[in-house]
């Protein structure tokens, strides 16, 4: 049990008592081979994944681009149809012109309602007034609040 008597004795044991011999050939080749094989294997896997990523990633991108192009075409068609319908409606009754505006306000109203609900949940009572809603200016490292919420949601199971 001279191994526990300090580093000098450990080295002495290794070199003088012949332990170095048991390390010299097969055992050292296990260490060398092991490290080299593990690194080579994982390097091969890196290359394979990069190859798969470049082939199937670009295929995926092409498919996405095609989908986006299709969606754009469909949107253009819908817009054209809407324009026609709006023109027809304008001719029929000029009041209908204001119709798209409430949609935009309804969106903003939804956001304000969500913010109000969040504030209510945090405070626990309804004695507050929201005077204005401004987008927060984050520092350079700050994340978008939605991204932050998504990330917290994804990492919570771990």
């Amino acid at each position: 049990m001279m191994f526990f008597n300090g580093p000098q004795n450990l080295l002495a044991a290794v070199f003088e008592n012949g332990y170095w011999n048991c390390l010299s050939s097969e055992s050292l080749s296990v260490i060398l081979t092991g490290v080299v094989v593990v690194f080579c294997m994982l390097l091969v896997l890196i290359l394979a994944i990069k190859l798969i990523g470049s082939v199937f990633g670009s295929m995926g991108k092409n498919a996405e681009e095609k989908k986006a192009a299709k969606a754009e075409k469909a949107a253009a068609k819908a817009a054209a149809a809407a324009k026609k319908a709006a023109e027809a409606a304008t001719k029929a009754a000029p009041v209908a012109k204001a119709a798209p505006a409430p949609a935009a306000t309804a969106d903003q109203g939804g956001v304000i309602a969500a913010i109000s609900a969040a504030v209510y949940m945090m405070l626990g009572h309804g004695n507050f007034k929201i005077k204005s809603v401004k987008k927060a200016e984050g520092g350079r490292r700050a994340r978008n609040a939605w991204k932050m919420a998504g990330m917290q949601d994804n990492t919570r199971p771990f």
């Binding site: 390390l23 055992s27 294997m41 994944i49 990633g57 995926g60």
Partner: protein
């Protein structure tokens, strides 16, 4: 008076035949250790899913009885026999005939059935997306495996033979099933201490790793916020397990049971066409095997065979292996930090040891201590799952070079 006399004799006989009558000091020490582990699992919540069954198995195996038939585990049944040709074997017929409950469950460990099934469940639960998105994570997974071979070297210095050194070294992979799989082939006699050391260190990762992570990194490095990973297509996720199986199993066939099952589980998950069996692999099968494995591993810690100097050497060198793996992972993380122009946080290197997801969780925790808005978890999952593959490959190398 005669009635009282026989009553007293009966009491004495019951006491003499009870566990209290035949227990030796080693049994009491192991019972105390099992209670400590139960405390850590229940109160401190250190990986309770693993630690609780292991600790209870330890408790059950150390409750002796005067009548061997009453015991749940019999170490003597697992002693290796030698036939006339010098071949070493275990008499499984005798185990089936005379074994207790935990002997029967332990057959799954000895025959190498549980570890690959655990890998099937891990594969079905793992998202390799972060690794596919940043393949360079494989380097960190490989770096952490140097700990295995470093500990192999240390074990040889401590006077162990190559088979024992390989079994001890694999503790550095921080992967319980892999450690069991390698040890049952290389040195079955050491299965108990090695499995307990491997699982205990996995449970104690939140205590062992952070001091070395802080020691080897600067505040600036720990504060690095890493960029968002690219999105990975479903096709890539489906092809990944097939490609890894073909490449790894062709090059290191000894790793096939572990890597093959890991990738099968992952393919089941990513293909999206086997929802029922995927759920079974993730939940019921995984839970059942965890109970069986934990209990039977705990049962191997019978005081008389467990409390030896060899166990202390295994525990110390195993700890060294674990620390070496962590340190090499972080050092390679620092190299990647330099080469990436400061975009990679070296803390994710410590997750290269394959304890999923505990090691990644520790990277996240230490990173958040410097910058509370920093989320390293998904970035650390890349090296973490790469470590699982890396340790399986390292196991394959050890089995090929020492086991055959």
């Amino acid at each position: 008076m005669e009635v009282l006399q026989s009553f007293w004799e009966a009491l004495c006989t019951i006491l003499a035949n009870s566990g209290f009558g035949v227990a030796q000091w080693q049994n009491y020490v192991m019972i105390a250790i099992s209670c400590l582990l139960l405390y850590l699992a229940i109160v401190k919540k250190f990986e309770p899913l693993l630690l609780l069954p292991i600790a209870f198995g330890m408790l059950l195996a150390n409750i002796p009885s005067a009548d061997a038939a009453d015991m749940v585990y019999h170490p003597e049944l697992w002693e290796m026999l030698v036939d006339e040709t010098g071949h070493r074997y275990i008499d499984y017929g005798r185990v089936l005939k005379e074994g207790g409950l935990l002997d029967i469950l332990y057959m799954g460990v000895k025959l190498g059935i549980y570890p690959p099934l655990i890998f099937l469940g891990i594969g079905a639960m793992t998202d390799f997306g972060p690794l596919i998105a940043r393949p360079s994570s494989f380097i960190l997974g490989a770096a952490a495996q140097i700990g295995i071979f470093g500990a192999f070297f240390l074990a040889l210095l401590a006077g162990q033979d190559a088979a024992s050194a390989g079994s001890i070294g694999i503790i550095g992979g921080a992967d319980g099933p892999t450690a069991i799989y390698v040890t049952k082939t290389l040195k079955p006699e050491l299965l108990g201490p090695i499995a307990v050391a491997a699982y205990s260190y996995m449970a104690l990762i939140p205590i062992i790793q952070p001091p070395f992570m802080r020691l080897l990194t600067t505040k600036k490095e720990r504060s690095v916020v890493m960029g968002q990973l690219r999105s990975v297509s479903k096709t890539e996720k489906v092809i990944f397990p097939i490609a890894v199986t073909i490449i790894v199993c062709m090059l290191v066939p000894a790793a096939t049971p572990l890597v093959g099952m890991l990738m099968l589980g992952n393919l089941m998950k990513e293909s999206g066409v086997t929802e029922r069996i995927t759920k079974t692999a993730q939940n019921e099968l995984m839970n059942i095997i965890t109970i069986f494995l934990g209990l039977s591993v705990g049962a191997t810690t019978n005081g008389q065979t467990f409390l030896t100097w060899n166990t202390i050497i295994i525990v110390l060198v195993g700890l060294g292996a674990f620390i070496l793996g962590t340190c090499f992972g972080i050092l390679f993380g620092k190299v990647m930090y330099v080469f990436s122009g400061g975009k990679i946080n070296p803390l994710i290197g410590s997750a290269g040891v394959s304890a999923v997801p505990m090691a990644a969780r520790v990277s996240q925790k230490v990173g958040q201590e410097e910058n509370p808005s920093n989320y390293l978890l998904m970035h650390a999952m890349g090296p973490n799952v790469a470590g699982v593959i890396g340790s399986a490959v390292a196991a394959g190398v050890l089995l090929t070079m020492i086991g055959h």
